[in-house]
Symmetry: C2
Subunit: 350 residues, 2 copies
């Protein structure tokens, strides 16, 4: 058993979740592997470009490589450089815009280690990439989500300008993030098809071989959209919001907490909103009703009415896994109550 | 000009906010000093026990010491040990329950450097403190917020048990967190008085000299409650939620962002929900309407209808400062657009 020890636990080698200082991220090793295996059976190899932003962990990415994925998506330059420095992934995409000259220059230096591609959606982002010595770009196309991406009708002109600036244009990307939580599957599928029609028309004007889109909520809706690769990330660990969609993935990560105060009406655990992404609302605890979260606490009650003992360990399922993971230094890999490994969340920050 | 350089900016010495990589916390040095001065004029010296959880930064705590405060409140053992190791504060209170034997033992080791006091609210937390060699405790009393704290009527018995276990009982604390955002001042004041009556009765049964309570929303409502010290923290940097109360403190911290994508209808900045505490809702940007936040972006529009240029720097006011600060490594101290110092957010984690 190899256990790297977290800064908060330098004098212990945890063998059980009962030895962990809390709050602490725990990942069910077998559930993680089942999620990765399910996804890789449906979108094998290069048909999936796993999104690193959801997990920020090179050790977890190595598991995805083991299941056949060699191309990765990142949201920050820090994630890109961290993956390149760790030697993970043959082909890394920054699916985000940056005009930060220092960061892009640092990223350009990793191009001898792996293939680096950067999204651009404007003259400014084009010039920033070219000035930094970035070699490969994708044209980011707006497909309905009011965020980054150029209008579909100008994608071809931006690609031409990029080529004139000496950049290799590998294709397009367009993220239909506004459709991830459309409640019914039929409606979601129909809207994805409409959205991707915009991307395909842009791709025809841009050229290149890549048409990159999608996420965990739409990962299996791209069989006939023309999209060549899906950028899903949250599928590997999951959260309670994506669980609402009935996807073939199971919860594989929790924030482990300890009951620190308890009475007949409620219990308080040491997992608060500094240990949980809160943008999707409160977390969930099996067999409990969550009342509210404060900085370092969640107040909750058992559905049975039973009182919890101080010291009881509780698994808290986050409503949004991506920002939750980003709040922790370490993930503890478990099988049941046994701690079998620890992984550094090494791609945090920007 | 002394500038410590953040891990993400190792090759630059920023002299202006335009040199900072974003997202980045910026603190207005003069506004911070005005907030601290205002508070220390109203609750001087030991009448305030500034709460470290809101700022997690020893460099900022040194400013509070300069204005006469030597006693501090913490929410985590990490904050306590970090303050003790930095030699800041003569008297540190862990206003939170812990049964973590390793952490409490590490905390007990700092007792030769400074006075350490730990809140207890149960036999379990009493025993954990005693076993770890903690010398001083406060009895945490529930005053209406459904979170930690023993029932007022058992506080005296818990204090007796603590003294029998060899602990020095310094008094009581009770946090009226459920009253911070009561909208009208008169109603807030009346409810605080009711809540504190519970605490004072418990204090009479507990003994000791400390009656600790309060927060930024109720800091000036304890003149006649009998409370000896107020635990406010957010007042020094402020956030848009506390700004609703019309307190005599101004916004002193923002997350600086850069426009990375822009069109006639909206702009996108590189400050997303991984750089912002989201439990109080969306952040605010002066002269803009914020549409939504995603992992690494906020989409917004100018109220004037003008289009922003890619590269424009924008100050984002967080809705909740405490979890926002906890997401960043570094705070850049500014005067106008000049960067005059950088402070490590060195008390993150647990």
């Amino acid at each position: 058993m190899r256990v790297r020890v977290s800064p908060s636990a330098q004098n212990m080698t945890p063998r059980s979740i009962h030895d962990l200082s809390t709050p602490a991220i725990v990942i069910d090793s077998d559930a993680l592997d089942r999620n990765i295996a399910t996804m890789s059976s449906l979108r094998p190899g290069a048909k999936l470009r796993p999104h690193v932003k959801a997990t920020k962990c090179t050790a977890l990415a190595i598991r995805q490589v083991a299941f056949g994925h060699n191309n990765f998506t990142c949201a920050t330059v820090r994630e890109m450089i961290g993956m390149a420095d760790a030697g993970i992934g043959a082909d890394l995409l920054l699916a985000n815009e940056s005009i930060d000259a220092d960061r892009l220059a640092a990223l350009a230096k990793t191009q001898d280690k792996t293939m680096i591609t950067v999204a651009i959606d404007s003259d400014e982002t084009l010039r920033a990439a070219a000035r930094a010595g970035i070699r490969n770009v994708l044209i980011d196309v707006n497909v309905g989500l009011p965020r980054c991406g150029c209008a579909p009708e100008v994608a071809g002109a931006l690609a031409d300008a990029a080529r004139q600036a000496g950049l290799n244009v590998r294709g397009v990307m367009g993220y239909e993030g506004h459709l991830m939580m459309v409640a019914t599957r039929d409606e979601r599928q129909a809207k994805v098809a409409e959205s991707m029609a915009l991307l395909i028309r842009a791709a025809q004007n841009v050229g290149g071989e890549i048409i990159s889109a999608g996420g965990t909520g739409t990962f299996d809706m791209h069989e006939s959209t023309g999209v060549t690769e899906v950028q899903a990330g949250s599928y590997s660990l999951m959260d309670t919001q994506y669980a609402q969609l009935g996807l073939p993935f199971e919860q594989a990560a929790w924030v482990l907490g300890t009951v620190v105060s308890s009475n007949a009406k409620w219990s308080v655990i040491d997992v608060g909103l500094k240990a949980l992404g809160m943008d999707h609302g409160n977390p969930s605890v099996e067999a409990h009703r969550v009342w509210f979260c404060s900085d370092e606490h969640t107040t909750m009650a058992t559905t049975s009415g039973a009182q919890l003992h101080v010291g009881t360990r509780v698994r808290v399922a986050p409503s949004h896994i991506d920002p939750t993971i980003a709040m922790h230094n370490t993930a503890w890999v478990v099988r049941g109550e046994e701690v079998i490994d620890s992984w550094e969340i090494d791609l945090r920050g920007w």
